[in-house]
Symmetry: C2
Subunit: 736 residues, 2 copies
C-alpha cells in the first residue's frame, strides 16, 4: 500500500472517528519513524484462532496494528516459518510451553509480555494461563504502542490485585439511568435479545482493555422484573456478547422479588419457600447464563426492601442469596450503604454501626460493598470507617464514576486523585501501612474474594460518558481496579496519550488540567471538609440553604451546621463521636482540631468563623478564598485548553456528518476541532457553574455570619434570594 | 487521485458510515461510468458565498459531489472563466438575472433546476428567489445524482404546496420523549446554549433536504418551564443552528404558563393581565429568536389546561396567543385533538362537535391542527371529519411519524401509504375531488396559511429514528409536506435508492417490502376497521380485553363492542351517528353496511359474526384470515430481505468500532452487513410480535363468540389468560 494511501486512510479515519466514540482505542497512526520500528518488530504474529476469546485477541491486534502502523500484521498459525510475536497459552502452544511455570505464577488473569528467545530466535511473547490473559496482554501491548513506549527490552508481568473488577450500572429497565448524564441506558431492552447492538461489543472491548471483568446490568434500586424470564433472556444475550471478553454479567436483585414475581407472602430469608424460590430463580438464571456472576443488593436503604423488614439481619439476607448462588460459583455483593429511616444518629456512623457487628457471619461467597466514604460520593470524604473494621469479611470498594455530586458530565473533574487518595488512606487497622487498598485487595486480612465496583458513567451518548473527559474516569477506575497501587497521574498520562495524542506537548497540559480538576471542584463546591451542600433531589448546583423536607439528613443544614458563631459538623467525642469508628490513632488525629487535615476540618469539627488557619487567615476568609480559588482553577484549565486549539477550528461545530470532507487539509494541531470545540464549550459551562457555586455559597454563609468579605473578593452579583429561587425541574439523572 | 485511492476511500467511507447515521445523505460513490458523466457536467460551479445559507448550499454541494463522484467540484465566484453550473438568485447574480421572471413565478421557497443557455453557453442552473430555494435546489440535484437520474435535459420547477412544513417533537425537558422509540431527546438542554452539538446541524440538513421549515422543540403536553428565560436562551441557540437551513423554531405553550411562570391568578384569555403577560413573553422570545415561528398548543385535552377552564372557547384561547404573536409574524397552531373529560359521546365525534361551530372565529394567524383521523393515529382510520367542514379556518394536518400504535421502532411499517390514503381521501366538501390534500394545501378554500405537521420519530439513537426503516417515515413526511400529491411508492423508491443503493435489484424488493408493510400491520393488529385494541398505557402489544379504568374511551371494549352476536362500533344513525359528521354522500356510503369499504367496516358498523364478506367468508373467518395474513406478510418481508443478505455478513454484528478493518475485502452485495443484520433482527422481532397480536386477538375474540377457527388456521399456542397476564412495566415511550 502506498504511503499516499496510508496517509489518506489516516486522514479519513481521523475525520470520521473524532466524536469520542472510539474511546482510548482510537488506534490512529503513530509517528512515522516509530511506526517503522514497530512494524519491524510486529510484522508476523503467531496466534491461536479457535476460541472466541482467541479470535477477539487476534482481531484486536489486527485492528490495532492496522490503525497504528498503517499495515495489518501477517497472522500465522503455530508452525509458521516466520514470526516475531507469539500469542497464546503454554498448555496449548508448543512454542510457549517453556514458559509454563513463569506464566503459572501470574495467576488465572495474569499475563506475561516480554521479549525472549524461543526456539532460537528473539520474539515478543504475550502469554498467559488462559485466553483472557492473552487478550489483556494484547491490550497492554497496544497501549505501549499508543503511548510510544519502546518494545526492545520488554519484560512485563501483570496480575490483577483485585478479583472482581465490576461496573455497576444504575440503569432502569425503561432506559432511564439514575444519576446518569450520558443519555439513556446502553442496553436497549426493547430490541434484545434479537438485536445485539455492535456497541455492546465495543463496550466489552473497552472494559477488557482495562481488565474489567464484570458488569451489573441494572440499578441497585432494582425492579423485580429484571429477574423475570423475558429479561433473563435479554441479559443472556448480553452475556453472550461479553463472554469472549471475560466479562461476567451480574444483576441487582430486589429483595422482595419472591413476593412480587413469585406471589409469596413473605421475603423472609429464613422462610423455606423463600429459600426455594431463590434457589429455583438462580437455577433458572444459570440455565441461561452459565457464567452468571451473581447478585448485587441494596437492602433496607432509602426505602428498598430487605431482611430487616422481617426482623432479620443483613447477614441473613446476604446468606440467603449466597446459598442459592454457591453451587454455581456465584457471589453476592451486599451493599453497606444503609442508613436508618428514623435517623437515630449521625448518618456518617450508621453503616459502621449496622455492619461491624456482623463481621464473620457472612457466608464465604458474600462480599460487602462499601462506598469510599461514610456519606455518599461527596467531592471529598474521609475513607469509610468500615475499611479495616471487618477483618473477617471481604469488603469491596464502591466508587462512583458518574459525577452525581461533581458537576455531572459538563464539569471536567478527573476522579483519579479521589480514588488514589482513598486507596492510599491508612486505616492503621494492623498498624501503619494498613491502607484501604490493602483491605480492598485482600492482602491485609488474607481474603481471596476481593472486588472493586465503579458506578458506571456510561450511556448511549456518542461519547459513551456524556463528555470526552469523563471517559478518563471509566479508564482510571478500570486501571485502579486491576492494581489499586497505580498512580492517578500516570494513568492520566496514558489516557491522554491514547485519547488525544502521545505528543508531550499535548499530554503534559492535559495531565495538568486533570490533576488540578478534582481539587478545583472541591474548592468551588465544598472546601475544607464541607459536604452534602448540593440542591435537593437532582443535586444540580449549590443548595447550602436546603432545610426541612422528609428527613434532616437529606438537608444541607444538617451537614454544615453553620450559625453566627461557626460552621462544621462536630464528629468528635463532644459531638456525634463518629471519630470513634476509626482506630484510636486516627480518632485522635481526626478528633483534634489542631491535628486534623484542613481538607477535612469541617467534616469533623464545628469551628468558629475566626478560627486561625495554617495560611494565617481566619476560617471565613479561608473559605471565601477557597471558593474563589476553585473558580480560578477552572479559568486556568480553560487557558490551558485554549493553547491546544487547532488552527482553523472555527467551523468545527458545523457538522459531524461522516462523509469525507475534501478540500480541507489535515490539521496541524494534534487535537481535532470537534473535540476541542466541545471541551471548550463544556469548560465554559463549568466556569459559569463554578462561579455560581462560589457566589451562592458565599451569599448564603454571609447571610448566616454577617461577616465582610476579605479584601479583593468580589461580592456575589445577586442577593441570596436569587440563588435560592433558581429551580431545575428537569435536571438530568434524577432518581424519579 | 488514483482509482485505487478512490476505491479505498469508498470502502473506508462505507465501513464507517453504515450505522444509519448519514440518513439518506450518504453520498457514497455512484457507479463509475455514471460518475464520469456527472463529473463532466458538474466540474466547475459558480456559487455565492456570503450568507450562511449560501455557504450551507455550497458546502452541501461540495460534500455531496466529493462523495458521489469521488472528486469535489471547483467552486468559483461569479466572473469565473469556466463554469458548468450556476447557483444563486437572479437579484444577486448578473448571470442569472435573465431568469428573474421565471424564478419569481415559483414563489419564495421555490426553485428552478434546469439546463439552459446562459451567456452563450449551456449550463445547469439552480436558481431561486431566495437563498433557501437555492439550498432546496441543491438537495434536489443531489437526489438526482443519488438516484442515478440523467441531467441532460433537466427542467425542474418546484414550489412547496404547503407553507408550514413542521416536525412536532414530543420531547420533555428532562430528555424523555413521549411516545419516542429512538432514545432520548436530541436536544441536550443541559449543555445548551454553550454546546451546539454537530447533530443539530445534521438534523437541519436532513430537514432542509426535504423542505421541512419548522420544528416544535417541546412536547404538546408542555412544561411551562420551556418558556422560562434559561430555556429560551437554549432554544435560541438551536434556532441559530437551524436558521441557515431555513428552519424556524416553534414552542409548545402551556396555556396556564401565566400562572405557573408569571404568578398570575388566572390564565383567562380575556383577562388584561394575562394578555399583557403573553405579549411580554412573546416579545421576550422574539428578542432572542427574531424568526421565532410561534406556538403549538394542546389545550383542554387529556388533562391539559386551556381556555375552557375559565369558561372561554378554543377560539378565545388561540386568539389570545395569536394577537401576541401577530406583530412579529408568528402563528398559533391550535390542536383540535380534544375530547371531553366526562365522555358525553362517541369520542370520534368530539373534536368535530367542539370545533365546527368555531369556524370563522379564529384570527388570521391561527391554524387549527387536526390529526389525520378522528381517534388517534390508529393503523387505519377514516379521514378526520373536520377536513372540509371548516371552510373559513385554515386546517393543518397532523400525522404521527413515531409509531405509537404501529409497533414502535422495531416494526417495519412504512407510513407513506397511510399518509397518501388520507391525503387522497375525498371529503366531497365542494363536490367530487375535494381531497383532504386540497384542504391542507389551501387550494379548496383559498387559504394562504397552510401547514402539515409530523410528530417526530427522532431521538439520540444513532439511526436518529430507532431503526433504519423508520428514517423513511421522516423522509416521506417531508416529501409529502412539500407536495401532498406525490406518490408514496415513488418516495419509497427514492428513499431506498439513497439509503441503500440505486441498484434496481435493491430498490425493487425494498419498495415491495415497504409498500406491503402498512397493510401487514393493519392485518395483524386491527383488520377490517377495528381500532384502539392495544395494551393500556404504553400501547405495547395487543390488549383487546382492556376494560375498566378511569374512562370507557380509554378501553378496547369501548371500541370493538364484541359480544356473542357480533363486533364493531355502530357509528350509523342507529348508533353514535358519527357518519353524520361527513357530507351526505359519504355519510350514506359509510352508513350503509353494503357500501362501506371493508377496510372500515367495523369502524362504522356493528356486524354479526356470520356477516358475509366479499371474499365469501363469514366476518369471523375473514377476521382470522386477515390476522394470519398479516403474519404471513411479515414472513414475506423477511424472505425478501434475506435475499439481500451480503456475502460474509456473519460477523457483521461484532463491532462498529470506527477503525479501518483491513484484511476483509469490500463486500459484493450493495447492502452492508451491519444494517442488514440489524434489520434482520428487527424483522424477527416484528414477526414474533405479529404472531403475538394474531394469537392474542384470536384467543380473545374466540372467547367472546365461541366460534371455531376456519380450517387450516392454527389455534393460539396459549390460553387467553396467558396473553392477558403479560405485563410490560418498562415499555419505551410511555407518557409518564
Amino acid at each position: 500500500m502506498s504511503s499516499v494511501v496510508i496517509a489518506l486512510l489516516m486522514f479519513v479515519g481521523t475525520a470520521h472517528a473524532e466524536d469520542g466514540h472510539a474511546l482510548w482505542m482510537r488506534y490512529v497512526p503513530v509517528e512515522p519513524a516509530l511506526a517503522a520500528t514497530y512494524r519491524a518488530q510486529l510484522s508476523d504474529i503467531v496466534a491461536p484462532d479457535t476460541t472466541p476469546t482467541q479470535r477477539a485477541a487476534r482481531a484486536e491486534l489486527e485492528r490495532g496494528l492496522a490503525g497504528l502502523l498503517g499495515k495489518a500484521p501477517r497472522m500465522h498459525d503455530e508452525g509458521a516459518e516466520q514470526y516475531a510475536v507469539v500469542l497464546g497459552t503454554p498448555h496449548a502452544s508448543a512454542l510457549l510451553a517453556p514458559l509454563r511455570r513463569e506464566v503459572a505464577s501470574l495467576g488465572k488473569d495474569g499475563y506475561l509480555l516480554k521479549r525472549t528467545q524461543l526456539d532460537g530466535r528473539s520474539v515478543l511473547v504475550v502469554a498467559a494461563q488462559r485466553d483472557i490473559g492473552v487478550l489483556y496482554g494484547v491490550f497492554h501491548l497496544l497501549r505501549l504502542l499508543q503511548t510510544g513506549a519502546p518494545l526492545d527490552a520488554l519484560d512485563v508481568r501483570e496480575s490483577p490485585r483485585v478479583q472482581l473488577r465490576v461496573l455497576d450500572h444504575w440503569d432502569n429497565l425503561d432506559g432511564h439511568v439514575e444519576r446518569g448524564y450520558a443519555g439513556r441506558s446502553l442496553w436497549d431492552w426493547q430490541s434484545l435479545p434479537e438485536w445485539k447492538d455492535p456497541r455492546y461489543t465495543d463496550y466489552a472491548r473497552a472494559n477488557a482493555s482495562l481488565g474489567i471483568n464484570g458488569t451489573v446490568l441494572n440499578n441497585v434500586n432494582a425492579s423485580a422484573w429484571s429477574l423475570a424470564p423475558d429479561y433473563l433472556d435479554k441479559a443472556a444475550a448480553l452475556a453472550e456478547v461479553f463472554r469472549p471478553y471475560g466479562i461476567r454479567v451480574y444483576l441487582s436483585a430486589r429483595f422482595s422479588a419472591p413476593m412480587e414475581l413469585g406471589g409469596l407472602k413473605t421475603a423472609d430469608p429464613l422462610d423455606p419457600g423463600v429459600r426455594r424460590w431463590w434457589r429455583d430463580k438462580v437455577n433458572e438464571i444459570y440455565a441461561r447464563i452459565p457464567d452468571f456472576g451473581g447478585f448485587l443488593v441494596k437492602a433496607n436503604s432509602e426505602g428498598q426492601p430487605g431482611p430487616q423488614d422481617c426482623g432479620r439481619s443483613h447477614a441473613d439476607g446476604a446468606n440467603l442469596l449466597a446459598d442459592a448462588l454457591a453451587p454455581h460459583g456465584g457471589v453476592v455483593m451486599w451493599r453497606a450503604f444503609v442508613y436508618a429511616h428514623d435517623v437515630p444518629a449521625d448518618r456518617a456512623t450508621q453503616a459502621h454501626t449496622e455492619f461491624v457487628g456482623l463481621d464473620g457471619t457472612f457466608h464465604p461467597n458474600v462480599i460487602v460493598q462499601v462506598k469510599n466514604g461514610p456519606i455518599d460520593f461527596q467531592p471529598r470524604e474521609p475513607f469509610h470507617p468500615l475499611f479495616g473494621a471487618m477483618p473477617h469479611t471481604p469488603l469491596m470498594m464502591e466508587f462512583q464514576l458518574t459525577k452525581e455530586y461533581l458537576g455531572f458530565a459538563t464539569h471536567l473533574v478527573y476522579l483519579g486523585p479521589l480514588f488514589e487518595e482513598v486507596l492510599r488512606s491508612d486505616t492503621y487497622a494492623r498498624g501503619h501501612g494498613s491502607t484501604v487498598a490493602s483491605v480492598v485487595d485482600g492482602s491485609l486480612e488474607g481474603h481471596a474474594l476481593t472486588g472493586m465496583a465503579g458506578v458506571a458513567n456510561i450511556g448511549n451518548d456518542r461519547t459513551w460518558t456524556g463528555s470526552h473527559f469523563d471517559q478518563a474516569n471509566w479508564y482510571a477506575f478500570g486501571r485502579l481496579a486491576w492494581n489499586p497501587g497505580q498512580s492517578a497521574r500516570d494513568i492520566a498520562a496514558d489516557w491522554a496519550a491514547m485519547t488525544f495524542s502521545p505528543d508531550p506537548a499535548v499530554v503534559q497540559p492535559i495531565v495538568t488540567m486533570m490533576m488540578t480538576s478534582r481539587e478545583a471542584a472541591v474548592n468551588y463546591m465544598t472546601p475544607l471538609g464541607l459536604h452534602h451542600l448540593m440542591a435537593r433531589g437532582h443535586h444540580y448546583g449549590p443548595g447550602p440553604w436546603v432545610d426541612g423536607g422528609p428527613r434532616p439528613d437529606w438537608t444541607s443544614v444538617y451537614y454544615h451546621r453553620a450559625d453566627r458563631n461557626g460552621i462544621g459538623f462536630d464528629r468528635t467525642a463532644r459531638g456525634s463521636n463518629a471519630v470513634a469508628q476509626y482506630v484510636p490513632e486516627l480518632a485522635a488525629q481526626y478528633g483534634d482540631v489542631t491535628k486534623v487535615p484542613e481538607s477535612l476540618l469541617l467534616w469533623f469539627h464545628h469551628v468558629p468563623w475566626d478560627h486561625r488557619m495554617a495560611s494565617g487567615r481566619t476560617l471565613w476568609n479561608e473559605l471565601v478564598t477557597r471558593y474563589s480559588l476553585g473558580v480560578q482553577q477552572v479559568q486556568a484549565m480553560q487557558e490551558e485548553w485554549a493553547h491546544l486549539q487547532p488552527t482553523g477550528a472555527a467551523s468545527a461545530s458545523t457538522s459531524t456528518s461522516p462523509e469525507v470532507e475534501r478540500g480541507s487539509a489535515p490539521l496541524a494541531s494534534p487535537i481535532d476541532p470537534q473535540r476541542h470545540a466541545e471541551i471548550t464549550a463544556f469548560l465554559r459551562i463549568q466556569h459559569r457553574e463554578a462561579q455560581w457555586w462560589r457566589d451562592a455559597s458565599i451569599a448564603y454563609f454571609q447571610s448566616i455570619n454577617g461577616l465582610p468579605l476579605p479584601a479583593g473578593e468580589a461580592p456575589p452579583p445577586h442577593p441570596l434570594s436569587y440563588y435560592q429561587s433558581l429551580q431545575f425541574p428537569s435536571a438530568p439523572g434524577d432518581g424519579r
